[in-house]
Symmetry: C2
Subunit: 471 residues, 2 copies
């Protein structure tokens, strides 16, 4: 398989001669990357589970686990008119991302969805508006009893998700267990697992051991949504095959020598590390397309994984060219504390429309030099010109930038891209020394990149405040 | 009118004793705020127009301009089944915000919208997916000829918006002018104004002189959407009256002495200035509710207005408690370069549901101490406990934070809040000296807070790249 689907281009800033200090730092980072690659290679599959790196095991479409997801998706398509993902953070952002990037917009309004149910999301807040609004609408449409809820929580205790699940239960009454599918831990550490033992849900899908929430996109957390929404000439199985194909591509990239031109995770993590050393503090994640959730997913992945021990760039989500009319002025003229990571998509026309994209016609009402330049081009050509213009302008003005060029908005490419960003995060964590213990010894079992910590303070205080409300 | 609707609470960090250096800085900022307030007071209404501050003139519901918006909204409600806002940045974010915060979720799926059409947005990207998806769906629903498009662009030349408008025209054919309402400049500097002269649109609404795009929420840019979507027991006029009421509340707040406890814009801008002096570089705009667009709107307002001349904090959009599961770890454990601005909403239940919010029932399947604490409470009570817990945790961990407490999610409160944020931005611009010329003289006519600059580079390069594509 070639590496033609995704390439990394680093902007002009780094091609200027480095001074001695930066050259030394660059060499030091290269040395670290070499050692990190040796570490990753030395970890066996068994170790991956105990080191919380099981997300990097590529499944096969014939694995029992994947077969279960496919048959669950087929069951949903056959028996339900709506499918609701109930989760927060790592438990819903990947499903939202798949739905937004892969499926047609205005999905629920389409006359023919080729067997897919309507798609909704909830469980990511205590703000009552979204959940009650959803239940009202499903009831008004008379499909509430034809709706299946996919409740995602490894511990089964995530407060926002669990509270939503209990309210859904109040509305569904006796039929709740039948209309619930859950992805959760496969042992009694999960409350949802315990509930399932007392009275089985329609389906329990096990969160694989050694997979942290934010690295769980390619388990049933994300794959079930992807499979359920199979479109024309697809099946759930075909969709999952495509995702696995993308993961394999990313794995090949990750296994090339760390210094190889095509090894994006090592090159990108190294570049970010150097930028941080040069005093940059913000990554502008500039997804040059009409998406929200790829950036939101990356914020979650990166902030939670590497902003520990006082290090790590802060990720801000942006969209091109939309954000050119909001954040761009600040990037160009504001403090020089930002680096830009563009995602540049090469084929933005969506196959569901079935035809070729039309060009913008000329208009004769007015003569305007600037506007006449838009004529006879397609929107997607303007999109490319806008990206190239913005990147060139950043180069010209000394804003460090790198671009991940993605060949198309397909399941393969999106899966490969996500996996590359996960691998980049894993490498960046180790560049920040998150695999060392306090004495400087290598301590992979407690590698902070994959562990969640630091959130307990607000959770504990929230509980205290609940007790205050109640009393 | 009281100031009970919106209050500002500054977290514990600033109540610790300031050292001598900070005390001196604080006094210096206070002195500046006093001078800034004198300047604002000295500007007459006439000056407001020439200084691009006409957004701060409060309209009356009987002004011809407002009457025009109301009658246009009534025309749309009577004659159309769908209303599409076509704009980008300052020309669409306020309308998106009003729709998201004020109207029920799943608006287009409601059986009874009390006379309001379906609501859509486009024109904020060259990515072809959203626009073509929308046109396909409107055609499939057989309401494309019953759809009215509100094209918003002061110059009429905004490339993303204009390109979308021309494609919409291709689909509507001869009926285009009839199905277009435009908000644009009232003179031939606007291409849309020129087009309207040759063949009139259904309606041309004039963008008032002296109102920059990002300060235009309370012109037809935002108010038309608000009026069109009037719900049960409301009319377009009532909705606009409510917005004006909110603006008046904000004006009263702004005119109190700068040091007054209730004068949020001066206190908040001063606090942000001090935080910047202390080395903070990021504002986490933590809207503690299930919204996206209030934060997106503020990013646009603040980044474009004050991130000039190398100063100004960078705004990152966050949501509570959703972002507690993504960005919070980084705020608590990452670099100490962040300040948090919470928006805390006191009444999150939406009146459209007509009933009282129910409490979460107890569940007997499992015994879990943590989860049992959630029982018998409403989601909105949990939301409040979650906000308080998060703010307390930040206080405890030394993360500087301030909170804007908003009494309810109503038109009055949302309008007052937006206007307070606009005023805060205006004060912050002057704190950064954006009203001085290069020689240090006061230069209100070229005040950078209200001017757009710095974006021409990418636009010029985009045009060059268009010529490359074409050749």
């Amino acid at each position: 398989m070639s590496n033609s689907n995704i390439t990394l281009k680093i902007g002009k800033t780094l091609s200027i001669p480095l001074n001695t200090e930066l050259t030394t730092k660059f060499q030091q980072i290269s040395q670290q990357l070499m050692e990190i690659q040796s570490l990753f290679q030395a970890e066996s599959d068994e170790d991956k589970i105990s080191y919380e790196r099981a997300w990097s095991i590529i499944p096969d479409v014939n694995d029992e686990y994947i077969k279960d997801i496919i048959s669950c998706a087929e069951d949903i398509r056959k028996n339900y008119k709506a499918f609701v993902t109930v989760g927060i953070g790592g438990s819903d952002l990947c499903a939202r991302l798949f739905h937004e990037l892969i499926n047609p917009v205005y999905f629920n309004s389409m006359k023919d969805r080729f067997g897919a149910p309507e798609i909704y999301f909830t469980g990511d807040t205590f703000d009552p508006r979204g959940l009650y609004g959803l239940l009202y609408v499903l009831k008004e449409k008379e499909i509430l009893d034809k709706t299946v809820f996919h409740i995602v929580s490894k511990s089964g205790k995530t407060a926002e998700t669990f509270a939503s699940a209990v309210i859904i239960r109040q509305w569904l009454k006796d039929n709740w267990h039948e209309q619930v599918i859950t992805t959760t831990a496969g042992d009694p550490s999960s409350v949802l697992f315990q509930m399932n033992q007392q009275k089985p849900f329609r389906k329990l899908l096990v969160m694989p051991k050694g997979v942290g929430g934010r690295f769980s996109a390619f388990t049933s957390v994300g794959l079930l949504l992807l499979a359920v929404t199979a479109m024309e000439s697809e099946t759930p199985k075909i969709r999952i095959q495509k995702a696995i194909k993308g993961l394999k591509l990313a794995k090949e990239i990750f296994e090339k020598p760390y210094y190889h031109q095509d090894n994006i995770p090592y090159r990108l993590a190294g570049w970010l590390q150097l930028m941080e050393y040069m005093g940059k503090t913000i990554i502008e994640f500039y997804d040059y397309a009409d998406h929200h959730f790829l950036a939101d997913w990356f914020v979650q992945l990166y902030d939670e994984s590497v902003q520990e021990r006082g290090q790590g760039l802060t990720v801000r989500p942006l969209r091109g060219p939309t954000s050119n009319h909001s954040a761009l002025n600040g990037i160009v003229n504001g403090p020089k504390d930002k680096v830009v990571l563009f995602i540049n998509w090469k084929n933005l026309w969506h196959e569901i429309y079935g035809e070729t994209e039309s060009s913008i016609q000329s208009y004769n009402d007015i003569q305007d030099k600037e506007l006449s330049e838009l004529c006879n081009l397609k929107l997607s050509q303007l999109q490319e010109a806008s990206y190239v213009g913005t990147a060139e302008d950043f180069n010209d003005k000394g804003i460090p930038n790198a671009t991940l060029i993605v060949s198309e908005r397909s399941i393969e490419s999106v899966s490969a891209l996500m996996r590359i960003l996960m691998d980049t995060t894993a490498v960046k964590g180790r560049l920040q020394g998150l695999h060392f213990d306090e004495n400087g010894s290598i301590d992979l079992k407690h590698e902070l990149t994959y562990l969640q910590s630091g959130v307990e303070g607000y959770k504990q205080r929230m509980r205290e405040n609940i007790r205050t409300v109640r009393s």
